[in-house]
């Protein structure tokens, strides 16, 4: 699964994307796995209310299923326009 990071999430984690082998069933499971890896992930995922998530390029919630998903992206609230 490809995991992408944007804006300050990307800066905190230090990379724009990575490919992971994961058995996570939901986005929340994936976040827990990432948090357990290293401090930089713990720092990026400290407050989920400050984050948004997209699954296969569609905005969704943290309880979304990851079954059959190819791409997950984490980022702060968007500031377009």
């Amino acid at each position: 699964m490809d995991v992408l990071y944007f804006a300050w999430v990307r800066e905190r984690i230090g990379i724009p994307r990575e490919t992971l082998e994961t058995s996570a069933k939901t986005v929340t499971d994936l976040v827990d796995e990432l948090r357990a890896r290293e401090d930089r992930y713990r720092a990026a995922f400290a407050d989920l209310s400050a984050l948004r998530v997209a699954v296969d390029q569609e905005l969704t919630d943290f309880d979304a299923s990851l079954e059959g998903v190819r791409e997950v992206a984490f980022f702060p609230p968007m500031t377009g326009g």
Binding site: L4, F6, A7, W8, A54, Q57, E58, L59, A73, F75, P76, P77, M78, T79, G80, G81
Partner: protein, 147 residues
């Protein structure tokens, strides 16, 4: 629907002309242009706009399709830049056309409200003393409730 996500500047006049010229039997064209605001005090060195290639185009198409469904529109144009911009540069524009102006005005406002908080763009402001990500405002999220 014409949707362009690009680093290059765009010419507001010729884009508006081309959009208006392409309309048939439309009585109204409304445009909105977003411009990089300078910062008070030390001033803005530059603004960097990051986006999510792939999702950005999909999100804009979805927002535009919703507007087409909801109002009686001729067409929609959305241009949004990314990369490095300076104060007073044009960031983005939307244009809408309709037979009567009310639809074109309402759709342009709807597009802007959704583009603000549902299109995956992030702005970072650079000044001489550092750089900061622009935070989303609560009122931008609240603005969606009226639709």
């Amino acid at each position: 629907m014409i949707i362009r996500v690009q680093p290059e500047p765009f010419d507001l006049g010729s884009e508006t002309d081309a959009f208006a010229d392409a309309q048939k039997s439309m009585g109204a064209v409304v445009t909105f242009t977003g411009i990089v605001r300078d910062l008070p005090g030390e001033g803005l060195d530059r603004m960097e706009i990051e986006h999510y290639p792939g999702m950005t185009e999909k999100a804009l198409e979805k927002i535009a399709a919703q507007a087409m469904e909801r109002w009686n529109l001729g067409d929609i144009l959305i241009i949004h830049r990314y990369g490095n911009l300076k104060a007073d540069d044009r960031i983005m524009m939307v244009a809408t056309s309709s037979r009567h102006r009310a639809d074109a005005f309402a759709a342009a406002e709807f597009l802007m409200d959704y583009l603000k908080s549902r299109a995956p763009f992030w702005k970072k402001e650079f000044t001489t003393s550092g750089a900061e990500w622009v935070a989303a405002k609560d009122e931008d999220e609240a603005a969606l409730d009226r639709w």
